[in-house]
């Protein structure tokens, strides 16, 4: 039990140390943070042998309500904690190079450590209350890191947007937790599971509760319609995007859903909502990705799309397929994809970071080109990551995408949506690689690019190993039983591979040797105008309502009622004028003195009695 608690608390200690002690010494701060991440990773390996519920701390008790900080270690937890600490450590190391000369380096590493603490808390939580606590803390560390360059207006806006959109999701999440608690009196995952086994609850209530809880995942895992914060979050430093906005935090929603599959299985309507939201996100985000020109934005939309896959798969928990309930296995597919995706997407983001670093913070792919020759390690690792994302056998993405599609194989509509998305994924990644790494350099910055330092190359290479191997049984079998994964039937794997290859070829053929985009789809490039629509909604509803409320407050409540009745009491008014004419200060002083003397005399006479 101590191991798990140390993994949880060590990053908090590191963040606090940086804030209180070493904040004026950026290099020391960086090492404090990196060392804590390294120790956490090593302890995680120790932890993999443990199981079960480990220790708890009664955080809040009042009148029969007991909220605990209690840790629980299951197979799921182990897979996730490994992703968090391993990718976390690599991103810490990469940041040593990437953020070398940043003025806010100490603040940056404190933020990373705070994030590691919060994320570990989500993973280890054994109940909804604790998960919600760390859910919020993850939100605030994400806020701090997106807004790292807070003097940039765009970064300041993006961090605020990320936090607020997440809060909207959390509103639903909390409501769902409350509904479940009201009905069952339980908030721990195991307690809820037992309660659902023991008695039957109103299915309407369960569906509503599950939809509400899903709102939390929609916010954190950036699903449609709350996806708008994630592309903007790319304002943060690129290593942050790799860790938080690709591999771990955004996957927290999927992780949470995978943890409560028993609830999804008991709430069929909610499950259907989850599948469709996931599929819609996968498709819509992939379409948007095909028309972006910022290298990080392309990856951000790709992340959205892959998260959509995971959510869709988890939504199939509890669906009857070939005569038996495949509950556990469908959510396993989602989690499997989360696991492999963490490696190749973190790899792609760090690779993009290396490219951006080498091109002097240029992010426009149309100003890059020919980088394969100039930075071969970055380019080759990036291409391997791309192949994994596109689902080419035998890389990790192939296996997990197969499992996801197998979970959906009885639903033709969603299966087709998934296949289209798979084609688009291969296509936009091929487009990106063709423009960035092949052809000729399109700007001075790209011509002068050179390979990144060792401290940044090593994480790329390690993640490449993960991207290649994570899909094999030896790499995932210890936390997911391979027998409990959905297996694709018939020609599905073959079809998916062909689709992946077709996408890559299409992307290469269309974009090879081009200097500007031959395809123009404004709706995709402008993200279907969703941001604009939301902006309008906020203006009309929130700010409009706020304005109306303000006017009502000033005119009606304050002006008419309060002032009117004040005028009505004219006696008080004349008293008012009389006093105001005199010297307010002397009046006040005499009055105050009088009161004191009276009280004081009373006290004296009494105490001496």
């Amino acid at each position: 039990m101590t191991t798990a608690f140390i993994i949880l608390l060590l990053p908090l200690l590191a963040a606090t140390t940086i804030l209180l002690v070493t904040r004026t010494r950026p290099d020391v701060s960086a090492y404090v943070s990196v060392i804590s991440a390294a120790v956490c990773f090593l302890l995680t390996i120790v932890l993999l042998g443990d199981n079960g519920s480990v220790g708890s701390f009664a955080w809040l008790n009042v009148g029969g309500l007991e909220l605990k900080i209690a840790l629980e270690i299951t197979g799921l937890t182990k897979g996730m904690i490994l992703v968090v600490t391993l990718v976390g450590l690599l991103v810490h190391i990469f940041s040593l190079g990437y953020m070398k000369d940043d003025a806010g380096k100490a603040r940056y590493f404190a933020g990373l450590s705070l994030f590691m603490f919060s994320m570990t808390g989500i993973v280890l939580a054994d109940n909804f209350a604790m998960m919600f606590i760390f859910w919020e803390l993850v939100g605030v560390s994400s806020y701090l890191l997106i807004g790292h360059w807070f003097r940039k207006n765009s970064a300041a806006e993006a961090s605020k947007k990320a936090f607020l959109v997440n809060r909207i999701g959390d509103f639903g999440f909390m409501a769902g937790i409350l509904l479940l608690w009201g009905a069952t009196g339980e908030i721990s995952f195991s307690g809820l599971g037992q309660a659902l086994d023991r008695e039957t609850f109103d299915s309407t209530l369960l569906n509503w509760a599950m939809v509400c809880i899903f709102c939390g995942a929609v916010g954190k895992s950036a699903q449609v319609p709350l996806h708008v914060w994630l592309p903007d979050a790319m304002e943060g430093p690129t290593p942050v995007s790799a860790l938080i906005h690709a591999a771990t935090m955004v996957a927290a929603g999927v992780f949470m859903l995978a943890k409560v599959t028993f609830l999804i299985a008991a709430a069929p309507v909610a499950a259907s909502v989850i599948q469709h939201v996931g599929a819609l996100t996968a498709l819509v985000a992939a379409l948007m990705a095909t028309q972006q020109s910022d290298i990080k934005k392309i990856l951000a939309y790709s992340t959205l799309s892959q998260l959509g896959y995971m959510v869709m798969a988890v939504g199939f928990s509890g669906f009857v397929y070939s005569g038996e309930v495949i509950g556990v296995s469908a959510s396993n597919a989602g989690f499997f994809h989360l696991y492999t995706h963490a490696f190749f997407k973190a790899l792609l983001f760090l690779g993009a970071g290396a490219v951006i670093y080498a091109c002097h913070h240029e992010q426009d792919i149309w100003k890059m080109g020919g980088l394969l020759r100039l930075m071969p390690v970055t380019a080759i690792t990036f291409l391997i990551g791309t192949a994994a994302l596109a689902g080419l056998p035998p890389l990790s993405g192939f296996w997990s995408k197969d499992a996801v599609m197998a979970a959906a194989q009885n639903n033709t509509l969603l299966l087709v949506v998934g296949a289209i998305t798979a084609f688009l994924t291969a296509f936009y990644m091929s487009r990106l690689c063709t423009i960035v790494f092949f052809g000729k350099s399109r700007s001075v910055a790209a011509r002068e690019a050179s390979e990144v330092p060792l401290v940044m190359r090593v994480p790329l290479i390690i993640l490449t190993l993960g991207a290649v191997l994570a899909g094999f049984k030896f790499a995932y079998g210890w936390f997911i039983n391979p027998a409990e994964l959905p297996h694709p039937e018939g020609a599905l794997p073959l079809v998916l591979s062909v689709i992946g290859v077709a996408g890559i070829v299409a992307g290469y053929v269309i974009y090879s040797g081009r200097d500007k985009d031959p395809i123009r789809v404004k709706a995709f490039a402008r993200k279907f105008y969703i941001d604009e629509a939301y902006h309008l909604l906020v203006r009309v509803f929130q700010d409009g309502l706020a304005y109306v409320a303000k006017v009502v407050d000033q005119l009606l409540i304050d002006g008419l009622i309060v002032r009117g009745s004040a005028r009505f009491t004219s006696g008080m008014g004349s008293l008012l004028r009389g006093l105001q004419g005199g010297n307010l200060q002397s009046h006040a002083f005499l009055f105050g003195l009088g009161v004191i003397i009276i009280i004081y005399l009373i006290t004296i006479t009494i105490t001496s009695r």
Partner: protein, 494 residues
């Protein structure tokens, strides 16, 4: 029990004596600081002792009979709820005195410190009085200097008008409250004779002497009277302008401490003495508190100045405390008391930072500010802590209290009643408060710097109160049981 002076009597007497000494010509800030330090220490002792002995009983009892018929006693005692509020009062008083200027306004500034001391003494007396008359009188003692401070030492052209407005408004509220209290006193006094002693007015076990109907009609003026003092919607419009005009220490003391008197009164007087009185008004209160959370929340979003925004935000948060009270179970009341404490510290923190910003900048209008985080890192970081505390980030006591109140509303709620529906709507307030707080933070500290380039960070000697308040919010947020353990099981005694 006369003859021996209790620590509670000390705590109340010290600021009174110091106020007298300042009035007679002593140095304002020096003496006030002495009183603040002494009370901080004594308040912490009271809290610790009550924590050790259990919050359910009355400790440090003292009583001095002033009149036999009607029975009027100057008596004090502290149970857990009083001890929590005493601690809140001494902390906020300490911080308010610490941030007060050496030379407030024109002249000697003695009245300034006399007023601060009287506010502190009045609040402490009101939270510990065992007698209905003194409970009311001490609150009035604290209220009057508040008006003077706004009128004399406030900011802005409208300060005198605002001072009169709050005087009349709260005066009316107090009168309504007084009516209710008199009704209580007349109706509930035992047959032996009239008394103001709360414990003697409390109905014994068994049947309540008053019918549910009578209780209902006595409860209403208490709810409205106390409600006006707490800025319950729609009686809230005095609050924001008053806090915007008030000097920072007064805004801290009033929003942080004195406003809690109305809530304290409901929990200490109205609910225990009229256990059936609330039922009839529960639905009404649920609607009114949504007015606080949602309607005032939107009003807060539309504010263009930091000081007014903070004033409205404090009105908004009162809605959650009322929600906790309306749950009528010990979880909800525990959450309400915890939130009284948490909100008291966090709003005092925000007003103190707002005061520091006002002293440095030529405006508090959001559109004319920006990027100040770069040249005032201490203020930026601490304001960040305060803002996140106020919007209920886990780790701060505010979150612990919010979540307790939400859970309270859903206790054993297999089906959704009005309380649960209202709570879900009220949850949206969590989004609203994040919107206005983060907008404000973004406008003031982030983005490009526009104007106020030369503004300096908070000087070192002024940092102690800010850090103290943050640390207290964190300690009580990480270990909320320190406070919750003290909240007496008030519901169980009904």
């Amino acid at each position: 029990m006369s003859g021996q002076v209790t620590i509670i009597e000390f705590i109340i007497t010290i600021p009174l004596v110091i106020a007298l000494a300042i009035g007679c010509g002593g140095s304002g800030r020096g003496l006030a600081l002495f009183a603040a330090w002494a009370n901080l220490l004594l308040g912490a002792i009271v809290f610790a002792v009550v924590l050790a002995r259990g919050g359910g009983d009355m400790h440090f009892q003292s009583s001095h009979i002033l009149l036999d018929s009607p029975e009027l006693t100057l008596g004090f005692a502290a149970d857990g709820m009083s001890a929590i509020l005493v601690l809140l009062t001494v902390i906020v008083t300490f911080c308010a005195v610490r941030i007060s200027p050496q030379q407030p306004g024109k002249g000697s500034g003695r009245l300034y410190y006399v007023s601060l001391m009287l506010i502190a003494a009045g609040a402490l007396g009101a939270f510990c009085a065992t007698d209905l008359f003194f409970l009311y009188a001490f609150h009035e003692l604290a209220l009057i200097p508040t008006f003077l401070m706004i009128g004399i030492y406030g900011h802005g052209r409208e300060k005198v008008a605002t001072a009169w407005k709050i005087t009349i408004y709260l005066g009316v509220g107090s009168l309504i409250l007084l009516g209710g209290l008199i009704a209580l006193y007349v109706q509930l006094s035992p047959t032996g004779g009239l008394t103001f002693d709360i414990s003697k007015l409390a109905p014994g076990p068994g049947d309540h002497p008053l019918s549910a109907e009578t209780q209902k009609w006595i409860f209403l003026p208490l709810l409205i009277g106390f409600g006006i003092l707490v800025s319950l919607f729609p009686f809230h419009s005095w609050a924001a302008p008053a806090y915007a005009c008030a000097p920072a220490p007064v805004a801290m003391l009033h929003a942080g401490v004195l406003k809690k008197f109305g809530l304290y009164g409901i929990l200490r007087v109205a609910m225990p003495l009229l256990p059936e009185g609330f039922d009839a008004w529960k639905e009404l209160l649920l609607i009114l508190l949504l007015g606080n959370i949602i309607y005032v929340g939107f009003v807060t979003i539309s504010q263009r100045y930091l000081d007014r925004m903070l004033g409205h935000s404090s009105v908004m948060h009162m809605g959650y405390i009322f929600l906790g009270i309306a749950c009528c179970n010990s979880i909800g009341w525990g959450g309400a008391v915890l939130m009284m404490f948490a909100h008291g510290i966090s709003i005092a923190l925000l007003f103190s930072l707002c005061g520091s910003l006002r002293a440095r900048l030529d405006t508090l209008e959001f559109t004319r500010l920006g990027g100040l985080g770069a040249n005032m890192p201490f203020l930026a970081v601490t304001f960040g802590f305060a803002a996140f505390a106020s919007i209920g980030l886990p780790g701060f006591a505010n979150f612990a209290s919010e979540i307790t109140i939400f859970f309270a509303a859903f206790r054993e709620a297999g089906e959704l009643g009005s309380l649960q529906v209202v709570t879900i709507v009220a949850l949206w307030g969590v989004v609203i408060s994040a919107v206005y707080m983060l907008r404000a933070y973004r406008r003031i500290f982030q983005g490009e710097c526009i104007g106020n380039l030369g503004a300096a960070d908070l000087e070192r000697e002024a940092r102690l109160p800010v850090v103290l308040m943050i640390v207290i919010l964190l300690i009580t947020g990480l270990f909320p049981n320190i406070i919750l353990k003290l909240v007496p099981d008030l519901v169980g005694t009904l």
